[in-house]
Amino acid sequence: MDKLNTQNWNCNRDENNFIWLTLDKAGSKINSLNVEILEELLYLLQNIQTTASVAGLVIQSAKHNNFIAGADIEQFNHLETPDAALNIIQQGQSVFKVLADLPYPTVALIQGHCLGGGFELALACRYRVAIEDPKTQFGLPEVKLGIHPGWGGTVRLPRLIGGLKALELIISGRALTAPSAYKMGIVDAVVPLRQAHRAVNHFLLNRPKVRVATWVDRITNLPVIRPILGAWLERKIAMKVNRAHYPAPFAAVLNWIENDIRAEEAFAYEANSISQLMMTDTSRNLVRVFYLQEKLKNYGKIDAATFNHVHVVGAGTMGGDIAAWCALKGIRTTLQDQNVQIMAAAFARALDLFKKHLKEPHQVKAAMDRLMPDPNGYGIRNADLIIEAIVEKIDAKKALFAVLAREAKKEAIFATNTSTIPLEQLSADPKVLARLIGLHFFNPVAKMPLVEVITSDIHDSEVTQKGMAFIRTIEKLPLPVKSAPGFLVNRILMPYLLESIWLIESGIPPTAIDKAAEAFGMPMGPIELIDTIGLDVCLYGAESLRASLGGTIPQTVKTLVEAGHLGKKTNQGFYTYKNGKVIKQTIDKHYRLPEDVTDRLILSMVNSAMACLGEKIIPDRDCLDAGMIFGTGFPPFRGGLMNFVAESGEPLLLQKLNLLAQRYGERFTANSGWNVVNGS
């Protein structure tokens, strides 16, 4: 019994007769729970149960920066029926029950991510000791996969901290730092690594009273209170997401209202509920989104290059925010602009960013020290990567790259954040072009995870690899895109935005158009999006796309730009804004939206997506879907634009498109991409 190792668990008994179970998932950098690991855990627990003189149990992780990141998503992929799902759920629940019912104290010693199933395992222990570390985080992110916790999380967490606080964590899926988890009553102690063993021994030897919910928190679990709080929570969720699109958080609240979590039956209820959710399209598509994210992450091999110093030229919204983000992520960054006032504004935004993301003042200061104001461009000589984010004027950019070519070190890579100018036109010097890539960030930089990495025949693939490694280094998602007008995201998004203006010109109220798009699942309607981006920016983008791809631009947008109505930033665009808030006219009750409005909007995107695939601008359909989800917020529950196409049926959509072409003209003419994609 002293040594009872399994493939994934190490089991040791110490001089106090405490058993130390250490999870070290074979062949993996991180720990995640699967059937095998849980079976082994059950086997070990059963052995320990029958061993005399055992006085306590500790569960910990052998992985660096990671306790248990959650359940292994892989195993849920192939579940065909609710019963198959129920089996897996019940297995986990029963193992955790054995753990929870052990007659002696148990401690989860946690360093690094403690998420999902890992968190539920920790909740089944009597005590939780967290080790001080920024990576130590607690959370139940299941809703992000279209489900809710299933291994007792929706029961044990409300028992521990009360229903209201627990559900807030479950429906948001947000992660807590160790100190926040302590304040909430989730962990029993937060200690530095050097005190971890003493803390564990304290709990196992002295067996202090377990933390219980305060009386205020306990009240929230009472049968008379639950429906009231539950209804309030449901309203809160409904303000953010549509129940039809995202059922999981609503299900979590409903389970809690209808069941007394103090009773054992609550576990069975939870298991049934999650098994149903696992079968929904939403859940399958959200799991797909998770894999799309992993796919993009894998494009960037962090080992491909190290970036000690990044120099950014141009301190406008994009350049300034890119520089701040690099500094936030630990890279020494120099920011250059001819206009020191613009730089001053960029540094004020950077400080806000640092304060928002970094908890401790000394970390904020360290980030500030990493971001150096550099009006004279001293950073150029030492930078590993130089990002150009100046005005979209070809001559200015050319002149800049000529300077960079003279001053930068030989190994340095150049990048441009241009969204309209083809890479090949930015320099006449083949040596410059060979080391130049596009890094197309999206606004706002801090919120948008996607970066299009623009590749072209003029540079070698090693430069592309390094560019993608950089994007991973700063924890963004790289999407390789061929240099082509509008790249991927803008190429697909622009026809959709323009279509919304055509709709206005045909007399449909903007509010109704936005409502239709939001009903489809778009996070923000196209008209409001245009206002937010700025009509001038949109017009500029549309003009430059038209220059290479043809087409027409609705007059309305030009008229508004000429009148100075540029959108949210001028308080007047298609909508009026007051104190930064949009004022939307209400639609008449009797108004009936033409039934092809949603088709017109979505098929505009689909048609240009087909063109992108036909021109092989991105490697495959998955990349296209990833680009749209992480670059535009295309509804994740739909699994991406091409996933929507596949689910709707391609022939049907083509039929609809042809119909639209008859009605509205050639902008809906199916492009050659449809044939290529279907033929391939």
Binding site: R332, T334, V340, Q341, M343, A344, A345, F347, A348, A350, L351, K365, A366, M368, D369, M372, P373, D374, P375, N376, Y378, G379, N382
Partner: protein, 433 residues
């Protein structure tokens, strides 16, 4: 003085614009200001911050969280854990002291490459509790029991709450119980300097600083970002409207109401930082560094604290005597403008036979220091006087003046509260032969 010692070169230097304190605490601390000046300075060098041997900073009043501020600056600049940092304090000459310490270590072969200078954030000078208040508060921590604590409440006196203004205390000599301004009144009295002379000097200081800015002669400044949306590119204490008439309307602040030293003819309470890179000949060659000049020697002198403003006279006399130079051998001078009265008094003293005989046991006057060669681009009265940084600023600027005028020798000198003077002899060198 540095026979058999290695040469010490000044390679480059930079400072922040100096910011007049206006009653509101600067969002940037003394170490923030130092980093703002030194980070760009290091970024334009051919060596890495980790190649430096040590960082030496002068700072009279670092914030409570900035003990040994030089080490904090070194770490924040990315010099790495192996580069040491130490802080020096010689009141108004702390920045000069830092340069001298760096020069000595290079001369003796202990260092090759040193970042040295000074920083001060006077607008952040704290208000302190009096000792009575601290003693009264400490009882609550040491005495147990409610009865004892209640009893202690009875011992409270309202005057405990009167704060100690650390800035004022710092500018008062505790030995002779005179404020710095009063010592300036002393030397004005001693040399018969009128209010009009002082104000004229002050107005000239502003005019020179304005002209220097217009002519691009203050290029050692680096734009300072406050991270709150503002950028400062000029010294904010310099005023176009500091005319003789306007200065004449100000009231005396130290000897009220009959004195003549006013806020207008004194140096300003200011925030700022100035740093220089000093290198041995070996380091200059190794990294192929450009050279601005050479530190030849530094001397310090003591004198009556009540006449501390004459410190430069004592230091310069000693320095010139040691090198057997006359005032004519020096091309340009920086004499820190603590007070207009004090600078004028120094110049008068050099020409005063009686004064020279009495203090230095020399046969007569030392010679004239022509006013037009002193502080040619303004001084602390217009630009400001962040006490820890000024010494470094005047050396850095003197090098620019020598270079601009193709001149050879310069002396930078400061008076020091407590009754001292410091003077550094530098030479313009453009390359090492």
């Amino acid at each position: 003085m540095q026979k058999n010692k290695r040469n010490v070169y000044i390679v480059d230097g930079a400072r922040t614009p100096f910011i007049k304190a206006l009653g509101k605490a600067n969002p940037l601390s003394a170490s923030d200001l130092a980093v703002a000046a030194a980070a760009p300075l290091l970024a334009r060098q051919s060596f890495k911050p980790t190649d430096i041997d040590e960082v030496i900073a002068g700072c009279v009043g670092p914030a409570v969280e900035e003990a040994n501020i030089a080490r904090i600056i070194a770490l924040r600049l990315g010099c790495g854990e192996k580069v040491t940092g130490w802080t020096v304090q010689r009141n108004c000459a702390s920045g000069l002291q830092a340069l001298e310490c760096a020069a000595l270590n290079i001369a003796h072969g202990r260092s090759e490459l040193v970042l040295a200078g000074g920083t001060e954030c006077m607008s952040r000078s704290p208000l302190l509790y009096q000792n009575d208040m601290a003693a009264w508060l400490s009882v609550f921590q040491t005495q147990k029991g409610i009865a004892k604590k209640l009893k202690n409440w009875l011992k409270f006196r309202p005057h405990f709450l009167i704060p100690v203004v650390s800035l004022l205390k710092g500018l008062t000599d505790p030995v002779v119980n005179l404020t710095m301004g009063q010592t300036a009144e002393n030397v004005a009295y001693q040399f018969g300097i009128s209010r009009a002379e002082m104000d004229a000097y002050a107005a000239l200081s502003h005019q020179k600083a304005i002209a220097a800015h217009k002519n691009g002669h203050l290029d050692e400044r680096i734009a300072l970002f406050d991270w709150r949306g503002n950028v400062i590119t000029q010294d904010t204490g310099v005023r176009e409207d500091s005319t003789l008439e306007k200065l004449g309307t100000l009231k005396p602040v130290f000897d009220k109401p009959f004195g003549s030293v006013t806020a207008g003819n004194s140096s300003q309470i200011t925030d700022g930082a100035a740093f220089l890179i000093l290198a041995s000949e070996a380091a200059v060659k190794q990294y192929q560094l450009p050279v601005l000049g050479k530190i030849v020697d530094t001397v310090w002198s003591g004198l009556d604290p009540a006449a501390m403003g004459l410190g430069p006279v004592h230091a310069i006399q000693k320095l010139l005597a040691l090198h057997q130079f006359s005032t004519d051998d020096i091309d340009y001078w920086e004499i820190n403008e603590a007070f207009a009265a004090q600078v004028i008094a120094c110049l008068k003293a050099f020409e005063d036979e009686q004064f020279m005989r009495k203090h230095f046991n020399v046969p007569g006057a030392m010679g004239r220091i022509p006013m037009e060669n002193v502080n040619v681009d303004g001084g602390a009265i217009s630009i400001g006087h962040p006490v820890g940084a000024s010494g470094a600023r005047i050396v850095l600027h003197l090098l620019q003046v020598l270079k601009r005028n193709q001149a050879k020798r310069g002396v930078a000198s400061l008076c020091i509260g407590g009754g001292q003077g410091g003077a550094m002899l530098i030479e313009h060198v453009s390359e090492i032969v």
